[in-house]
């Protein structure tokens, strides 16, 4: 690859990287779900009912202290469910920190209030209120994301779908959700293969206009391929007897342990709610 090709190569490689990352993420979800930890043992319906309020409260609580306490709870939960903290750090904490940190960085200076530190050269002051605002935002995002990702890492996706149906969510939602999940990885693999073949055929440097044309043509081809695929999949479903209704083998059974853990989680949620008002 020549130096001139670096520009187009950069974008392509970053796209490939994010594709592969998504695939890995999904694959990982199945692995963690098989370990013998706390979250894995719970009935999926109980899990959703238990963790969901914690996410909501973490996102909405008004006291920083409460949010940090909930974050600590999430970390404990991760440990009890044998999810390595290093993985959480790589997958969630770092990303959110960079992301939300980047977004909230200007808030340090822009929020009106009591100045606590002034940058030497630029004369910009960091206000106490700005610092609190940034901390609020970052801790909330980290805590909520940690809980969500834990929930997903420790539950096989098929169980999530079944739990949704059992919780009486509309059939259309569950059918399309399940199929979309399936197709995301198929689509990504197609796109990945397409980009790989395009990359290997790329000799030299495409100018801006050609790049855009290539990009929109690719989008069109991908769309067309996936439309074709959807037609075939529908035929395959009809061929196996699908006539519109979806039936699921309900295998969920709750034990005393599930209810005990639910009680624990609800108590934590209530405490957090009380102190975080």
């Amino acid at each position: 690859m020549t130096d001139a090709g670096k520009n187009s190569r950069g974008v392509v490689e970053r796209s490939l990287a994010s594709f592969v990352d998504a695939l890995e993420h999904a694959f990982y979800a199945e692995e963690s779900a098989k370990k013998n930890g706390l979250l894995q043992k719970l009935d999926p319906r109980i899990k959703i009912a238990a963790v969901f309020p914690l996410i909501v409260i973490a996102a909405l609580a008004r006291r920083l202290g409460v949010i940090v306490a909930l974050f600590a709870t999430a970390v404990v939960l991760a440990l009890l469910s044998r999810v390595p903290l290093a993985t959480l750090a790589k997958r969630v904490w770092l990303g959110v920190l960079i992301f939300t940190g980047f977004i909230s960085f200007p808030a340090l200076f822009l929020t009106p209030g009591v100045a606590i530190y002034t940058l030497p050269l630029l004369g910009w002051s960091v206000t106490e209120q700005g610092l609190r605002a940034a901390m609020n935002l970052i801790m909330r995002a980290e805590t909520a994301a940690t809980f969500s990702v834990l929930l997903v890492l420790c539950t096989p996706w098929s169980f999530v779908l079944k739990a949704l149906r059992v919780l009486r969510l509309p059939i259309v939602l569950v059918v399309i959700l399940g199929m979309t999940y399936r197709y995301i990885f198929l689509f990504l693999r197609n796109a990945h293969d397409m980009f790989m073949s395009r990359k290997s055929r790329l000799v030299g440097h495409l100018d801006g206009r050609e790049q855009r044309r290539a990009a929109t043509a690719s989008a069109g081809v991908l769309m067309s391929k996936t439309i074709q695929l959807s037609g075939d999949v529908y035929l395959a479903m009809r061929s196996r007897g699908f006539q519109g209704e979806v039936y699921v083998l309900d295998e969920f059974q709750t034990h005393w342990f599930d209810w005990a853990m639910l009680a624990v989680f609800i108590s934590i949620a209530l405490l957090a709610f009380w102190f975080g008002r």
Binding site: A58, A133, A144, W157, T180, A217, A219, Y234
Partner: protein, 363 residues
């Protein structure tokens, strides 16, 4: 412009969920009728498409993220209601599975991108493409504009939702509790990124998709067969506006009646009775709710007269949660939704009438 958890307050989230729910209900009811047709896998494919497109996001300092959504392309092919379902599902997977976009803010994200985005794209496309031939280049332009408009309106909504947070929700020391950037920062931050990069990306995606389908699969764009049989109807038509009219007339009426719910709750802001002005406890409440401005010592004369005519129906029988401000927000949201839907009903009917006339005069 995914808004993650923690950027919006409880009441904002509740409000936006409340607004999204009637649209979701209608969209799912509509799509359910198509359940045993080839459109269901197509919806899943469209969700996939949006998901992949939304993966490429850049953080915008002062806002959230900038990225294309693909809602323009999906609306043009599938129609607004199916598009709402598809894009919402893509957002759901991103939020739950990939931690991109929050769970408390899911209602807000869907409202901005899936619901309003689809509606804006739909009307823009119809307005620009009108009744030109399927293969005309005007359709490509229309699709591009639809995508561009949808994304920018969605970004504007997101910017407003974020921008009012620091104004309304601060802790005791004045530090913003949720999103820290006021409107004058949030709006330029979001709009700049979307009017340029993200908007152009959506423009090219939508236009490119339509151009490609014109060449390879025009049936998907809506060839009207002679008999108008539903079998040959394009996906957009099958889930589109015309055939669902009774459904959303009913829905709009329902939502316009929601103020009755607010009235049943009794004392909300602005609904104080005349005697509240002399009761010291109530005066404190009024002051607190009005930004610490003390109410006048006597009720305004007009209010005194009116309040004897009008009193809230059953304040003491309303359940306690009904008095909570959040409930009031949700009700107002639904009422607002009803207004919006009613407006679109009217516009859609008017456009329909005009183009029907156009048909008759042109043939």
């Amino acid at each position: 412009m995914h808004i993650p958890d923690g950027y919006l307050s409880a009441s904002t989230c509740a409000l936006l969920y409340g607004t999204a729910i009637p649209f979701w209900y209608t969209a799912f009811a509509r799509v359910k009728r198509l359940l045993n047709t080839r459109l269901i896998p197509l919806l899943a494919v469209a969700s996939t498409f949006c998901f992949v497109i939304m993966m490429f996001n850049l953080p915008l300092p002062g806002g959230t993220t900038g990225h294309a959504v693909g809602v323009g392309a999906v609306t043009v092919v599938l129609g607004p209601w199916a598009s709402m379902v598809s894009v919402s599902i893509a957002l759901l997977i991103q939020a739950v599975f990939f931690g991109d976009g929050g769970i408390t803010t899911f209602g807000a994200n869907c409202f901005n991108m899936a619901i309003v985005g689809s509606l804006v794209a739909h009307f823009t496309y119809r307005a620009v493409a009108a009744r030109t031939a399927i293969a005309s280049s005007r359709r490509v332009v229309a699709a591009g504009l639809a995508g561009y408009a949808a994304i920018n309106v969605a970004a504007m909504l997101a910017a407003c939702e974020l921008g009012i947070q620091p104004l309304l929700f601060k802790d005791a020391s004045g530090a913003p509790l949720y999103a820290p950037y006021a409107l004058h920062i949030a709006i330029p931050a979001m709009m700049l990124g979307h009017l340029t990069f993200a908007g152009l990306a959506d423009l090219f995606v939508a236009g490119g998709v339509v151009a490609y389908l014109q060449r390879t699969n025009p049936a998907l764009l809506g060839q009207k067969s002679a008999g108008g049989a539903t079998k040959d109807a394009s996906p957009a038509e099958a889930s589109g506006w015309r055939t669902t009219r009774p459904l959303w007339i009913r829905l709009a009426l329902l939502m316009l009646l929601t103020p009755l719910g607010i009235l049943a709750a009794g004392t909300a802001w602005g609904e104080w009775g005349a005697k509240d002005f002399s009761d010291p406890l109530m005066r404190q409440q009024i002051a607190a709710a009005s930004g610490q401005v003390a109410p006048p010592s006597e009720p305004p004369r007009g209010l005194a007269r009116l309040s004897s005519l009008w009193s809230a129906p059953f304040p003491q029988y309303a359940p306690p949660f009904v008095r909570h401000p959040a409930f009031g927000y949700v009700m107002s949201a639904m009422f607002g939704c009803g207004l919006i839907l009613g407006f679109f009903l009217l516009v859609g009917w008017m456009i329909g009438e005009r183009s029907a006339v156009g048909d008759r005069t042109s043939t």
